[in-house]
Structures are given as structure tokens and as C-alpha cells.
């Protein structure tokens, strides 16, 4: 039971403890080590003394004492030591635990998120740093999630922390005038994290699957800390909608099941309802952005009771809107699919052929698969088989490959 309480505290409090310790010590490595020590101490003491009323405050205080000890032993300047010792608490709401209220400094995690996702850091470093400092994954876990050696990941993290220190990347939430350019970088890291986990094959790799849960957890924190940023809620809603459908997405043998064949009774209605409420609240602010629009598209699928009920015309309209904000070839391809479903496969095919001719999607593995699907729907079976074979050569996972092979069998029969 105590182990469970410590594990829960680790999940809920790690980011906050590290974020606060970084603020007061200015030393990322020290902050992580002291946070680690605090959790080890909890495992020792909680069985004896009971679980504190405010585990987060207890852990932060313990970690801060560790930091003071460490700094004293390393004989750092008295100024620094005084700063850490005096680490100020805003007087929090009265509570009888006698422990200073750390929750009163709510934006340390937000500070940490923005610093980890600073655009002056390499994208892969942003993701790794976020997982290490905010989610508390070990270097080994992050390394295995991104299929690199532990040594490589340790170097990547070390370099990023060194740059933050040497180049003086500020530890703060950017001022208002920088938020419009900095917030998307934070959202992008969380979404990338989510997709890394989401696209991992079913039981194959638990560490990777776990990334989706971490991403959702962090997106919840972000939305709470940025209540005026509708895109944060859009992103959270989008993740929840994908996650709600993840159970029906693969067969037990790991084969990809297309949306229209999924068993919709396996979708998580509670999550879908939560996401819809979040999205509605965000859209009411009338500041649409790419995540809100993608969530709205996902919601169109999620609320359709049967595949045939899907409102493809509305989805096509949403893709129009998304394309105006984010005119990427992948968005154009998805728009073509929606138009193909709303107005008939030939209409979609015309758009896909244009896209293919432009060469913009030459490296995108879903181009051939999309063309194949529209050709199949249009009844042009021999052309479809050729396109499916092409797609087969580019498929990234076994699940995709077995799905494409099934399609070839079906239309060749």
C-alpha cells in the first residue's frame, strides 16, 4: 500500500518537485538527484510515520533539505546556500499539517515545460528533457522508447542541460508577447510524445505505449496551468479522443482495423464525453487553432454511432479550415479523403492525383494507401491492387502490412 502511495506520489508530484528545485537551485542535475532522494526517503519513512497529508509539500521540503546538505558539503558560496535555505513560500491557504504550502507556487511546472520546449533546443532534446524532468521517466526508459542506446540518450540530455546553462535559456514562462510563438512548441512536444506512444504496436512495447498516458497527463497539467489557452484544451481533447478509440484500433493479432470496421462499442464513451466537453469550452472562446480543429474532426468520428452516420461533409469543411491555418500536404491528403467520402471517391481521387503529381508527398507512406483505398471504393480494382502493392512496400508496421494484404486478398477474390 505504501509502495502504491509512493508510486502515485511519484506520478503526480515528480514534475512539481523537480520544477521547484530547479527554480531555487538553478541546477538541473542537482534538482533531479534531490528529487530522487526525496522519493527514496519517502519509501523509508512513510511506512513508519504514515503518508503525509500533503505528499507533494513533504517531498519538496525533503528534496530542498537534500539540496542544502549537498550544497553545504560541496562548500558552495554562502549566498547560494542562503537562497536555497530561504526558498520562499507564498503563504498558502491555512492547513494544519504545518508543512509550507508549495502548491501556492503553481507555475513552476509551466516554467519547466516552456524551458524544456525552448525552440533553441533540438526537437529530440525537447522531448527527452520533458520526459525526464516533468514525467520522471528514467534515461533508460526514454532511450528504449526512442530506440537509441542509454548512452546516446544520456548524452542528448546532458547536452541539452548544458546548453540551457551555458547559453542562459531563461527558466520562466515567456512574457505575453512571446507566448504566441512559444506555446505551439510546447503543444507540439506533447503531441509528438502522444503519437510516439499511440503508433507503437499493441503489446509489443509497453514503455512506448506508456508515452501516450504521460502525454495526456502533461496535457492536463498544461491545460490547468494555461486556462486561457484554448489550444491547450484542444490538444487534450484530441488526445483523449484518439485514446478513447485505441482499443478498437487493432485486432488481437495486432492488425490495423480501419475506422469504418471498428467495433464502436469498444470505444471509451466516458473519455469521449470528457473530450467533447473540453472541446466545447475551448471552441466557445472563438480562437480556433490546429488542435481544436483536429479535435473537432476526431469528435465527428467519435460521436457517429455507425460508420455510415459519419458527417463527412462537416469533416471536409473542418479540413478546409485546417488547411487555411496549416497548409501542409498531409492535411491536403486528409481533406481529399473527406471529400472522397462526402462527394464520392472520384472527387477525392482527382485531388489525390494532383497531390501525387506535385511530388510533395513523395516520402509519405500513406499516400499510396490512400489512393488505393479511393480506387477500391471507386470500383477500379486492378488499379487499386497496384496501389496497395506500392503501399505495402512503404508500410511502417506489421499491423499496417497485414491490413494492406487483407485488402489485396479481398478485392482480388
Amino acid at each position: 500500500v505504501i509502495e502504491e502511495a509512493v508510486a502515485a506520489a511519484f506520478r503526480d508530484e515528480w514534475g512539481q518537485v523537480v520544477a521547484t528545485l530547479i527554480r531555487v537551485t538553478g541546477d538541473w542535475d542537482l534538482a533531479e538527484e534531490c528529487a530522487q532522494d526525496a522519493f527514496a526517503t519517502a519509501l523509508e519513512r512513510w511506512p513508519r510515520d504514515g503518508i503525509p497529508d500533503r505528499p507533494g509539500a513533504w517531498l519538496t521540503t525533503t528534496a530542498r533539505h537534500r539540496a542544502i546538505d549537498r550544497l553545504r558539503r560541496e562548500a558552495v558560496g554562502a549566498t547560494k546556500l542562503k537562497e536555497v535555505a530561504a526558498m520562499t513560500y507564498e503563504p498558502g491557504p491555512a492547513d494544519d499539517s504545518g508543512v509550507p504550502d508549495d502548491d501556492a507556487v503553481p507555475d513552476d511546472r509551466l516554467r519547466l515545460m516552456f524551458t524544456c520546449c525552448h525552440p533553441a533546443l533540438a526537437p529530440e532534446a525537447r522531448v527527452a528533457l520533458t520526459l525526464r524532468t516533468l514525467a520522471g521517466l528514467t534515461t533508460a526508459e526514454i532511450a528504449s522508447a526512442f530506440l537509441v542506446s542509454e548512452q546516446t540518450m544520456a548524452r542528448r540530455l546532458g547536452r541539452a542541460k548544458q546548453k540551457i546553462r551555458n547559453a542562459a535559456i531563461p527558466y520562466r514562462v515567456p512574457p505575453a508577447h512571446l507566448l504566441p510563438e512559444r506555446t505551439p512548441a510546447v503543444l507540439a512536444v506533447l503531441y509528438l510524445l502522444f503519437n510516439e506512444g499511440y503508433s507503437a504496436s499493441a503489446g509489443a512495447d509497453l514503455v512506448r505505449r506508456n508515452l501516450s498516458a504521460e502525454a495526456i497527463r502533461l496535457a492536463r497539467v498544461l491545460a490547468t496551468l494555461m486556462p486561457d489557452e484554448p489550444e491547450a484544451f484542444g490538444l487534450l481533447a484530441l488526445m483523449l479522443l484518439h485514446e478513447a478509440r485505441s482499443d478498437g484500433r487493432l485486432t488481437t493479432s495486432g492488425e490495423l482495423v480501419p475506422l469504418e470496421e471498428q467495433d464502436r462499442s469498444r470505444w471509451d464513451r466516458v473519455r469521449i464525453a470528457e473530450a467533447e466537453a473540453l472541446l466545447e469550452g475551448a471552441l466557445r472562446r472563438r480562437e480556433p487553432g490546429p488542435y481544436q480543429i483536429q479535435a473537432a474532426i476526431a469528435a465527428c468520428h467519435a460521436v457517429a454511432e455507425r460508420a455510415g452516420d459519419t458527417d463527412w461533409a462537416q469533416i471536409a469543411g473542418l479540413y478546409d479550415q485546417l488547411y487555411r491555418i496549416a497548409p501542409t500536404p498531409v492535411v491536403a491528403l486528409n481533406r481529399a479523403v473527406a471529400i472522397g467520402m462526402a462527394e464520392g471517391p472520384e472527387a477525392g481521387l482527382l485531388l489525390v492525383e494532383d497531390l501525387a503529381a506535385s511530388g510533395a508527398l513523395a516520402d509519405y507512406h500513406l499516400l499510396a494507401a490512400t489512393r488505393a483505398d479511393l480506387l477500391r471504393r471507386a470500383g477500379r480494382h486492378s488499379e487499386a491492387v497496384t496501389a496497395y502493392r506500392e503501399a505495402l512496400g512503404q508500410a511502417g508496421t506489421d499491423g499496417e502490412r497485414s491490413f494492406l494484404e487483407r485488402r489485396i486478398r479481398e478485392i482480388s477474390a
Binding site: 558560496g77 554562502a78 549566498t79 525552448h118 533553441a120 551555458n166 547559453a167 542562459a168 535559456i169 531563461p170 515567456p174 512571446l178
Partner: protein, 113 residues
Amino acid sequence: VKYLLLICGDESAAVHANDGCEGWSEEMTSRGVLEGGAGLAPPSDATAVRVRDHQVLLTDGPFAETKEQVGGFCMIDCEDLDEAIEIASKHPAARYGTIEIRPLLLGPPPDLS
């Protein structure tokens, strides 16, 4: 924090050699962040020096033949990387070339206790 701004550009940037800074230097000097800097003669005027086995070896041209070459530099002293980025992005050369921001390697800060 002190940074060196390396102003880089390819051959086409040469036409801007005598543009001046369109008021950038004046603005940054009055803000108190600009500590100095200069434009450089083209890389074809460069001489690379190496000493190997006590021998001074000279080569004509820059130390590395790359598409982009350093055409000027500025020393700035400002709050943090965000301010350095803001300063660099206002430099007219950022619109046709590239500005590399390099923090200076300084010893540990003096202990004032």
C-alpha cells in the same frame, strides 16, 4: 550574459557589405547591450594560420570552405538567450543571412560572499 553574434551569409550577401545596420547599432547601443563589433573584409582576403611541429603553416582563404561565411560580428551583453534572440532577429542581416548566437565561455562567477 555575454554573447558573440556571428553574422554569416553566402556570396550573395556581399552586396550588403556596406549597407550599415539601418539604425540597429544605435538602438542597441542606447539600450546598453552592444559592446562592439565590426564588419569583415571578404573571405578571399583571409589567411589561415596553423602551427604544427613548430612550423607556421599559412593557407590562403578561410579556415573552412563553406557556403556561408562570417561577414561580421558583434559582442552583446544582455539578460538571457531570449533577449539575445530578440536582438539578433532585429539585425538587418538576419533577413538575408544567418546570425549565430554563441555564448562566451566565462570562468565560474566570482563568489561574492
